[in-house]
Amino acid sequence: MAIVKNYMMRSLNSVALDDTIEDAIIYMHKTEMPILPVVDEENHFKGTIYSKNILKNIIPEQYGFINRQKILYDRNQAAETLSEIKSRKVKEYMLTKTETILEKDNMDKIAEIMLNNKESYLFVTNDNGYLRGYISRGDLLYYLLCTTE
């Protein structure tokens, strides 16, 4: 049986709940990852922080947010808003309702989740909820390619 563990990226690169938005942005930039897993002080998976979500908070107009106080008109204002929130905690901006998969799950389950949720990355945990890595759409396609061969 093709299980997730054989195809996932075994990476524990992550940010913590009390890391700052600035920490997360720098880490996203250095690792070239648009999304990072968020863990607690024992490395249990707690959610994800998306670059898209951070952008939403500094450019609300583009995403249809109604909060007039926050409406921005140009890049400089976005940068200004970012400087205001960069010291805020990751836990304030993370998504907690993120679907995870287990390393022992069948790869076929991944396709279903990725198609239904439009997730480009799924984070993998073990039975005890510890982060174990992630699997991307590219990994899924690679698995499908191997299957056809």
Binding site: R10, L12, A16, K30, T31, E32, V39, Y130, R132
Partner: protein, 316 residues
């Protein structure tokens, strides 16, 4: 989960050429003559442990710049779990030129890598949250510029706080300062210096004296390299000499890392027995040294070398 720590990893490149000569351009067309792999003491031990069948082995450390991304992908190819703090500076590269006529081996060791204070703070935080599933942690190798010599002491103190045992392979001031945290296993090494605790060691008596001193300063067990032998300092103050017999060394690259990994393997497979764990570890190192390989292949090869390892107790 098995945890190893490599704070100063490198991308290692080996070039195999006919003749290493100044002003002579070299052209390499055969990929057999150019090898690129991730380097670093704890990391190589991780790869060995994966080859011995362990499912979850993580390597924690710094990696830097765009080369860090490449390095991490290389490590992932060995199925080792990566847990890296990315730094702004590019990581280091070691180059080895291996020539056949006349036989020579030239190393260009790169020690230019440096990390920021913020990255050091981050690695301590990352380390603390990432070792929860590990009972025995291997910390090995040199430290990059920008990292205080107290770093190993601080990491071991985190392990003590969380009731984890530490296997420390270190040298110089980082080793000196780590001792006060009382690491369980200490393996000094002599890549840059032939000193232990700032004292020059030359003959066996010097090594024995300094091994005892390492214990007096906090190490519980000491595994002291002594040429191709090991001096083993047990916690009960007894002393042993471990030696290989009937061997032919063809390669030393990777032998020490195989020793470290196999020491762990013995404990995980059989429970802790200081002398037998070292005998098994030495057999693994001998397997590497007698073959032109860098990584362990499996337990069978280790078992085949066990009978070539002797341990005798020495009078103190």
């Amino acid at each position: 989960m098995i945890t190893t720590v490599t704070l100063n990893p490198s991308i290692d490149r080996e070039y195999f050429i006919d003749e290493h000569k100044a002003m002579k351009d070299q052209y390499i067309y055969d990929d057999e003559n150019l090898k690129v792999y991730p380097g670093g003491k704890g990391l190589i031990a991780s790869i060995n442990l994966k080859n011995l069948g362990y499912s979850d082995v993580q390597n924690i450390g710094f990696v830097g710049g765009k080369q860090g991304l490449y390095f991490e992908k290389m490590v992932q190819d060995y199925k080792v779990t990566t847990n890296y703090v990315y730094t702004s500076n590019e990581m280091r590269n070691n180059i080895k030129i291996i020539a056949s006529t006349p036989p020579s081996n030239t190393l260009y060791n790169d020690y230019t890598y440096s990390v920021s204070k913020k990255s050091v703070k981050e690695i301590k935080k990352r380390f603390k949250r990432s070792i929860r599933e590990s009972d025995l942690i291997m910390i090995a190798g040199s430290i990059p510029d920008g990292v205080n010599f107290d770093i190993y002491y601080e990491l071991i103190e985190i392990c003590n706080e969380l009731d984890k045992d530490v296997y420390l392979k270190a040298s110089g001031e980082a080793l000196n300062r780590a001792l006060k945290a009382k690491p369980k296993f200490v393996v000094p090494y002599f890549k840059h210096t032939n000193k232990i605790l700032d004292v020059k060691v030359e003959n066996r008596e010097d090594y024995i004296k300094m091994g005892k001193e390492l214990q007096n300063k906090g190490a519980q067990y000491v595994i002291m390299p002594f040429h191709t032998n090991r001096l083993l300092f047990d916690v009960d103050n007894s002393l042993y000499l471990l030696s290989p017999e009937d061997y032919c060394i063809r390669n030393l690259l990777g032998a020490g890392d195989a020793y470290n990994a196999a020491f762990f393997d013995y404990i995980f497979q059989n429970g802790f027995d200081f002398l037998e764990a070292n005998r098994y570890a030495a057999a693994a190192a001998l397997d590497i040294a007698e073959h032109k390989i860098v990584f362990l292949k499996g337990r069978q090869e280790i078992e085949e070398s066990i009978d070539n390892i002797t341990i005798e107790e020495l009078e103190v």
